[in-house]
């Protein structure tokens, strides 16, 4: 009786040991089911190094045969290639190189679908080989292919069967890793993992670059373009991810291949062209991978991969283009020379990433210096004014004069100066930080007091528009949040209510109403002003979008008030809505009493 295989794997076993063990077990048919199952389970927690496939091209019958699967170290692959006597195609070259023609895809299709003129076992092996290793097939297909092939093995297994099964298992390892990476879809994590490997000396630089492209390619699944740069010899940084390059927000785009096709691109000095013929079958296969993202208009695809090189000539990435942006000679289905020149031009431009990085850094510093300047030049004087204000109070000038009326007037004016100064400082910060939705520092904020202060700051504006402002609160209400941002939230809400008053309204009012229920605080801003129209409601919360009437009323505004309100609310883990659009207009903000910091990216 065979011992159950589950007991023979241990958590620390190397992948090699697991594979070897499983291969040996192929000679013991009865235990294979358990073996495969156990192996798969173990493999999931022990994802291996990447594998590449080596293919044998048989010119006599136009077939491609999976010859070997090797770890994806190009050196190793090269050795394999040289050691093979016949014409062998490395899978990535096969798929991305010029040697691939339609007929190969026909071969793939036939091998997969309809039997060729060969015996059943031969077909089965070929079908299996193709299925498990051809990257464009979906994971489900691969896994089921392996399972099918495996279950079809009969008692009279021969060495070929074992070889195929071995390939199947290895390819499955690759598949599982692919699945794992695809699931992750976290490019930055992949990057940092790879950087760590690089730093730890676990991979050499060349392998790291190649591997990086593959990692990201798998993670992105061809759905996005990435711009990344080499920060130093030991670290890599993703600086942007865009949609496909039809309308890039950047000057240039570095593409990291979507389906693991980049391995050879780094080795090649020439652009690598990969044609995919229009065909219903392949579209179906493609759809199975990309699912809903593929539309009928993209059935006929062409993909161009251009290696990106830095000033030292080292490959740092690949440009891929697969949309209709570039003119294509339809009869040949080929990109024109102009297209290629353009792509090469883009490639060389990106190559200068170091210059670009310096430029970005310089701009960032420039911005910081400007902010420092504004803060120092504008806030420092205000600091002195505040000192003067308090000194006047403490000197009790008016008390000495003995004039009670003058004393009261003097004090009220001093209060106004202090309010103005604080409001001005607040406004400076609003200008500086108008784009920030983040929380700088968090503390317990007395919300009612903050609302009263905001009302004070807007006193003159309210008076000018004859709007009566008030704060209504049932109790002392506090929120743990960013004091500045919360002030800004209250300020924007109230200022909107004051600014957009209704001209025919005789009793104009704007109320900030604060209530707290359990662990939630509700801020309502109600006014009987001009209101907002329904279609303006959603648009209002977008940046620099204002209602038609609002734009006429206060053309100088930035139009970011409500957008800022929404950003601030979200940063505190709350919600904002227009609860009523007219008479009274009611904005309602709901905040957790303690802001959720995780929403503060």
């Amino acid at each position: 009786m065979e011992q159950p295989l589950a007991g023979r794997f241990h958590a620390g076993d190397s992948l090699q040991r697991r594979v070897t063990f499983l291969l040996n077990s192929f000679h013991r048919q009865p235990v294979l089911d358990a073996a495969l199952q156990t192996f798969l389970l173990n493999l999931l927690e022990f994802l291996p190094a990447r594998f590449a496939s080596v293919w044998l091209f048989n010119g006599l019958d136009d077939t491609l045969v999976l010859r070997d699967i090797a770890p994806l170290r190009l050196d190793d692959c090269d050795v394999s290639l040289q050691s093979l006597p016949r014409r062998v195609l490395h899978i990535s070259e096969c798929l991305s190189g010029e040697t691939v023609r339609t007929r190969h895809y026909q071969v793939f299709k036939q091998t997969l679908g309809i039997p060729l003129n060969a015996n059943a076992a031969f077909q089965r092996k070929h079908a299996l080989s193709t299925l498990i290793s051809f990257p464009i097939f979906g994971i489900d297909d691969r896994v089921s292919g392996v399972i099918n092939a495996y279950t079809s093995l009969d008692a009279n297994v021969d060495s070929d069967d074992i070889e195929v099964a071995a390939c199947a298992v290895r390819a499955l390892a690759e598949t599982l890793e692919l699945a794992h990476l695809t699931r992750e879809r976290n490019v930055e994590r992949q990057l940092s993992a790879f950087s760590a490997q690089l730093v730890a000396g676990e991979v050499d630089a060349r392998t790291a670059w190649d591997g990086l492209a593959q990692q990201i390619a798998y993670a992105l699944e061809g759905e996005a373009c990435s711009i990344f740069m080499k920060k130093s010899s030991e670290s890599l940084q993703l600086i942007g991810t865009t949609g496909m390059i039809g309308d890039p927000p950047y000057d240039t785009v570095v593409y990291l291949s979507g389906q693991g096709l980049t391995g050879r691109c780094f080795q090649s000095n020439r652009p690598i062209i990969y044609y995919r013929e229009h065909s219903t079958e392949l579209t179906a296969v493609h759809k199975s991978i990309h699912r809903e993202r593929l539309t009928s208009s993209t059935q006929s695809e062409s993909i161009v991969l251009v290696p990106i090189r830095n000033s030292d000539g080292a490959a740092i990435g690949v440009i891929r283009c697969n949309n209709k942006r570039f003119t294509r000679d339809k009869t040949v289905g080929r990109f024109t020379t102009e297209d290629m020149n353009l792509l090469e031009g883009i490639s060389s431009f990106i190559a200068d990433t170091e210059v670009k990085e310096a430029w970005i850094r310089r701009r960032e510093k420039d911005r910081e210096a400007t902010i420092t300047y504004i803060q120092h030049e504008l806030i420092a004087p205000l600091q002195h004014v505040l000192s003067h204000v308090e000194s006047l109070t403490s000197l009790a000038t008016f008390e000495k004069a003995g004039d009670a009326a003058m004393l009261a007037l003097g004090r009220s004016r001093l209060d106004m100066i202090a309010d103005t100064v604080k409001k001005t400082a607040f406004m400076i910060r609003v200008v500086i930080e108008h784009d920030k939705g983040r929380l700088d520092h968090v503390e317990e904020v007395a919300l009612v007091e903050a609302a009263v202060e905001v009302t004070t700051w807007l006193r003159d504006e309210a008076r000018r528009h004859s709007v009566r402002t008030s704060v209504a609160a049932d109790s002392k209400i506090t929120v743990v949040g960013d004091p500045f941002q919360l002030m800004r939230l209250l300020f924007n809400l109230l200022r909107n209510a004051i600014t957009y008053y209704d001209e025919i309204e005789t009793e104009r009012r704007a109320v900030l109403r604060l209530t707290s229920i359990d662990n939630t605080v509700v801020i309502e801003c109600e006014d009987n002003g001009m209101g907002v129209s329904l279609d303006e409601v959603e648009a209002l919360f977008g940046k620099r979008v204002r209602g038609d009437r609002a734009a006429k009323r206060r053309p100088e505004g930035l139009g970011i008030g409500l957008a800022a309100c929404r950003a601030i609310t979200r940063a505190h883990g709350g919600t904002i809505q227009v609860a009523n659009i007219a008479k009274p207009t009611l904005f309602r903000v709901t905040l957790p009493r303690v802001c959720s910091q995780e929403s503060n990216g």
């Binding site: 510093k365 420092t372 308090e390």
Partner: protein
């Protein structure tokens, strides 16, 4: 009377004299120090007589090209390190215009007990100083003005 070293590149100006005058009403004696070097000198002269240090983080201003502002920002942070070396855990109140979380975090990491954002009323600074000094001082004279 609480003796405070006030470190700011403009600390010796007339403008600051007004602030210091008001602080005296709160029984705080502020000694102006213009630079980190000045701070070190003041510490070496009579460190025992210092109850608290108020420190500006962004010094020196006036040079707004990148390298200078970088250096400037570090200066105040650097001063915090010096203070720790020389004076142990003497209370430090950081007075700054910046709202940048990273700079504030650096200041807190280096032992700043309170961070007060400019502009502030002298009374607010007085309160911050008292809070930095701890509950015993704060309880005795909780930021109220002395006659």
């Amino acid at each position: 009377v609480i003796r405070v070293l006030y470190v700011d590149d403009e600390a010796d100006t007339e403008q600051f004299a007004v602030l210091f005058e008001v602080l005296r009403q709160y029984e705080i004696e502020a000694i102006p120090v213009r630079s980190v070097e000045g701070l070190e000198m003041a510490i070496s002269r009579d460190s025992a007589a210092i109850d608290c240090i108020v420190l500006d983080i962004i010094m020196p201003p006036g040079h707004y090209d990148f390298e200078e502002s970088e250096r400037g920002r570090r200066t105040g942070i650097l001063a915090l390190d010096r203070i720790r070396e020389r004076l142990g855990d003497v209370p430090v109140v950081v007075a700054t215009v910046t709202s940048r979380r990273d700079i504030r975090a650096q200041a807190t990491e280096r032992g700043a007990r309170k961070i007060i954002t400019k502009p502030f009323l002298p009374s607010e600074l007085a309160q911050a100083v008292r809070q930095a000094l701890g509950p015993s001082v704060g309880a005795v004279n909780n930021g109220t003005m002395a006659d």
